[in-house]
Every structure is written in structure tokens, then in C-alpha cells.
């Protein structure tokens, strides 16, 4: 217990870094995921194929490989440098890798949501004379959005947990590295592990409960 108290400030700083990574990646991956899903349902075969190729390649690559490649390959070898400050650069590289990866899951969740809306809804909308944009705006998307809440929540939860893989990109400010560092210094400490685990659960479980509750509350009765 003493170790947990002694190292609490370090660990808290690390955890705060994880949360910053999660916030930045959440925003970026939601934007990129929306763009990807727009490509995948667009009437243009080229864009559809490009979106599908991106999703299938990135989704099937291990995140560890992706993040290590961002740091060792893109930054060190190819000279992709966001900032002269190594710590800021590391943060941005991890955010980039994590967003590129999570966006594929966001895209698939959104696409699955659109697919839950039965054909009849679109047919009925057309039959009563709504235009394409009206039927999308008034009929399809409101139903699709509700079906997407819970899966998107799961994607975001996974992404928050994935922030710990930042270590693979050589970004050594997050809580996983802070934990490893204290273990190296003082030996393994069960209270520290439990403390960090509880911190993650305190963030992750409410998100799961909230999105679950919201999706049940807004569920389309069919």
C-alpha cells in the first residue's frame, strides 16, 4: 500500500496522459470513421473499394505493429515529425496510429447501424414521396444512429484500453510504462496494479453502462 501512495503522483500523471490520448483519438477516429463509412456507402465504386481496402488492411493489422511502425518507421526512417519536442511528437504519433486503427472499427460500427434499418423503411419513405436526402435525414439516419450507440460505446472502451499500447511506439509517459517503471524500481506491487486497474474500470464501466442504458432507452421498437 505504501508504494501505491508513494508513486501515486507518477501513476496519476501517466493515467492523465492515457486519458488525453483517449480524448484526442476519440475525436479523430470518430471523424475519420464517419468519412470512411461515407466512402463505403457512396455510389462511387472507386471510393467504396478504397474505403473497404483501408478498413480490411488496418483492422487486420495488430495495433502493436501499427504503433511501432508509426514511431520506428514513419517517424524515425521516413522523417514524419510533428514537433521538435520528442514528448509532443510521441504523443501525436500515438494519437495518429490509434485514430487510424480505431477509425476502422468506428466505420464498421456505423455501417452495421445503417444495415439494421429494414428495407421497408426506405421503401416506405420513397413511396410517400420523400427525396433521397429527406429519407436519409428523416427516416434512415435517426434509426441507424440509435442502433449504433452501444457498439460505438464498445469501440470507445476498447480504444481507451488500447491507449496503454503507446509503449510500443516508444512513448514512455503513459500509465502502463509508469507501472512497469515502478515495478523495476521497487519490485512488483499488487496494490499499484489494483489501483491502476480500478482507475481504468472507473472510466470504462460508466461508459459501458451509459451507452447501454442510452441505447435501450432510444431503441427502435420493431
Amino acid at each position: 500500500m505504501d508504494e501505491l501512495i508513494r508513486y501515486a503522483p507518477d501513476l496519476a500523471r501517466g493515467f492523465a496522459v492515457n486519458m488525453q490520448l483517449a480524448l484526442a483519438s476519440a475525436v479523430l477516429s470518430l471523424i475519420l470513421g464517419t468519412v470512411l463509412v461515407a466512402m463505403r456507402v457512396s455510389p462511387t465504386p472507386v471510393l467504396r473499394a478504397a474505403g473497404a481496402a483501408y478498413v480490411n488492411i488496418v483492422r487486420n493489422t495488430p495495433l502493436t505493429l501499427l504503433l511501432a511502425f508509426c514511431a520506428l518507421g514513419l517517424s524515425d526512417k521516413m522523417g514524419l515529425v510533428f514537433s521538435q519536442n520528442p514528448s509532443t511528437n510521441g504523443f501525436l504519433l500515438v494519437t495518429m496510429g490509434l485514430s487510424l486503427y480505431t477509425a476502422t472499427f468506428v466505420c464498421e460500427a456505423l455501417r452495421a447501424g445503417i444495415n439494421t434499418v429494414p428495407f421497408g423503411q426506405a421503401e416506405a419513405a420513397r413511396a410517400i414521396g420523400l427525396t433521397f436526402s429527406q429519407s436519409l435525414r428523416l427516416i434512415i439516419l435517426p434509426q441507424a444512429f440509435r442502433a449504433v450507440i452501444a457498439p460505438l460505446g464498445s469501440v470507445m472502451i476498447a480504444m481507451i484500453k488500447n491507449t496503454t499500447v503507446a509503449v510500443a511506439a516508444g512513448y514512455l509517459a503513459d500509465v502502463a510504462f509508469a507501472m512497469k517503471d515502478t515495478f523495476d524500481k521497487t519490485g512488483v506491487s499488487i496494490p499499484i496494479f489494483i489501483g491502476i486497474a480500478l482507475a481504468f474500470m472507473a472510466v470504462v464501466l460508466p461508459i459501458g453502462l451509459f451507452t447501454g442504458w442510452l441505447s435501450r432507452k432510444l431503441a427502435v421498437a420493431r
Binding site: 473497404a52 480490411n56 464498421e108 428495407f119 484500453k161 515495478f183 486497474a197
Partner: protein, 302 residues
């Protein structure tokens, strides 16, 4: 029937023009991205023969890549077997009629699903030498971490699978005089397993991808071979990027094969008359490190 046919009118002259325009813009944008990558590679000398040449030497495959692949597959295989056992036990425990079994199993499953896998692996890696004395716990930590996490996700799949069997099945089974065990083993599980198969295989894709975390604790897998071992062996040629691309392609191929298996199983179980349960949708599984397991119907086509 295609969704697009329902949503869109058949495009008229203006619509067709707009679509052609979009296609052209898309092509130009893709070509620009392609050229940008090509020229960057050119600038850094990544197209030079010596950068790619190692990957056509048989030695590189037999000495580095295949042993790395073996490391990945060993970890994935061990973890898959253990996780399936863990998932079956805890999934059934969560369905128990006795609260003293059901509640602790539920707590275990929820806790291990919420902890980041890497933290779990680190912790096991550091705690084992203290418990059992020195030794090499790299593989053990990786397999144990993967087992606890994926096993917990699979426990939820098992539970959902058994619950997906219509109630009439167990009522009928009780009515013909089967006991609790008989109902579970003879009626519910055989039907649930068929319904669960696609979701289980999807989770195995996640597990296979997550073995790459072994890289961080220096387990010798495909990823370590590509990033730590191959590049220093071929200096001065700078093979890190080419190695990463080759390794990445192997991972992608493996996972796509497994995903294709999941899709095929899902189609089969949808057709199957052997089960009254609808297939357990992988979307019901809260995502893990790999996020939501790939939706089975999403391989390439729309």
C-alpha cells in the same frame, strides 16, 4: 436486392455526371496519395533492391520469419485453447442457479474484460518470478494475459449462446424428464455451440492480433523478428520498413483467413436446422484490445 437501389433513384443525366465526377476526384485523390508515398519511399531509398532483396532469400524465411511465425502461432494456439476452456467454465458458471457460483464468476469476467490487456501481461510478467522464483515467464505472461482477457470475452459469448436457445427447448427437455445437467449438455449446449461458432472465431482473430503485444515484453514472435531482429542483420541496408510491410502482410493474411472462416461458419449456422438459436452476433461482444471483432459480413464486398 441492393440497399442502394432502394435508397437512390436510378441516377439521371445529372446524377450520372455527378457520380462520374466523384469517381474522377476519388481516382485523382488516390493517385495523389499513391504518388506521395512512392516519392517519399524514393527519397529515402526504400525502393532500392537491397532493401527488399533479403525477403527473397530462403534463409531469411527459414531463419527469421518462419520461427517468428511459429512463436506467434504457439502463443496464439496455447492462449486459444486455454481461453476456450476458461470461457466455457466461466460462461456456464455465470448461468448457474447458485448465487455463490454465479456472482463470483460474473465479477471475474467483468473485471478481466475491463482491465487493459497490456497491464495484465505486465503484471503477470513481474509477479510470477516473485511467486515461483526466477525463470523465463515471457510466454507464460503472454498466454496467461490473453487467456484471462479473451476467456472472459468468450465467457460472455457462451452465456449469450446458451441464452439464445429458445425457452421452449429447455421447457420441452424438462417436460420429458431430463435433469438440469441433461438439459444443459444434451439440449442447450449442442444448439448453442452452433450459434456461437462465428463469434468464437471472430474473437480468435482478436486473440491472434493481440499476441503481437508479446513484442513489448520481448517475446520472440513475428513482430519482434520484423522490428528487432531482421533489420540489424542486414545493415547497412535499411530493412525496417520493408520488414514491417512483409510482416504486416502475413498478419493481415492470417486474420483474413480466420475472418473468412467466421463468415462461412455464420452463413452455415444461419442455414442450419440443427439449432433453434439465432447466431450470436459478434456485435454483442464488448470490444477488447482489438475492438469489436470484425463483423463477419464485411470482407471486401459491401
Amino acid at each position: 436486392m441492393n440497399r442502394a437501389n432502394v435508397l437512390f433513384d436510378a441516377p439521371g443525366p445529372r446524377g450520372r455526371l455527378r457520380n462520374h465526377l466523384l469517381t474522377a476526384i476519388g481516382l485523382v485523390a488516390l493517385a495523389a496519395i499513391g504518388y506521395f508515398i512512392y516519392s517519399k519511399f524514393e527519397q529515402k531509398g526504400q525502393w532500392q533492391a537491397e532493401v527488399w532483396e533479403p525477403f527473397i532469400q530462403p534463409r531469411v524465411w527459414t531463419d527469421f520469419i518462419l520461427p517468428g511465425l511459429r512463436g506467434t502461432l504457439v502463443a496464439a494456439g496455447l492462449a486459444a485453447v486455454c481461453a476456450l476452456a476458461f470461457g466455457a467454465i466461466f460462461g456456464l458458471a455465470r448461468l448457474s442457479d447458485h448465487a455463490w457460483i454465479r456472482v463470483p464468476a460474473g465479477v471475474v469476467v467483468e473485471v478481466f474484460r475491463a482491465i487493459p490487456l497490456l497491464l495484465l501481461i505486465f503484471f503477470i510478467f513481474y509477479v510470477m518470478p516473485q511467486l515461483l522464483g526466477g525463470g523465463d515467464y515471457v510466454l507464460f505472461a503472454l498466454v496467461a494475459g490473453l487467456t484471462l482477457y479473451n476467456g472472459s470475452v468468450l465467457a460472455e459469448v457462451v452465456r449469450a449462446g446458451v441464452l439464445a436457445v429458445p425457452k421452449g427447448q429447455s421447457e420441452a427437455a424438462y417436460a420429458i424428464g431430463l435433469r438440469k445437467t441433461g438439459v444443459l449438455w444434451r439440449i442447450l449446449l449442442p444448439q448453442a455451440v452452433t450459434a456461437m461458432m462465428p463469434a468464437i472465431v471472430s474473437q480468435l482473430v482478436v486473440l491472434l492480433k493481440d499476441t503481437a503485444l508479446g513484442f513489448i515484453i520481448s517475446y520472440v514472435d513475428l513482430l519482434s523478428m520484423g522490428f528487432r531482429i531482421i533489420p540489424p542483420n542486414f545493415r547497412p541496408a535499411d530493412t525496417l520498413i520493408s520488414a514491417a510491410i512483409v510482416i504486416g502482410a502475413i498478419y493481415i493474411l492470417l486474420n483474413m483467413l480466420l475472418s473468412a472462416l467466421a463468415t462461412w461458419l455464420e452463413r452455415r449456422s444461419r442455414r442450419s436446422k440443427k439449432t433453434a438459436a439465432p447466431p450470436v452476433a459478434p456485435t454483442n461482444i464488448p470490444g477488447g484490445l482489438g475492438g469489436r471483432p470484425p463483423a463477419p459480413a464485411a470482407l471486401g464486398s459491401e
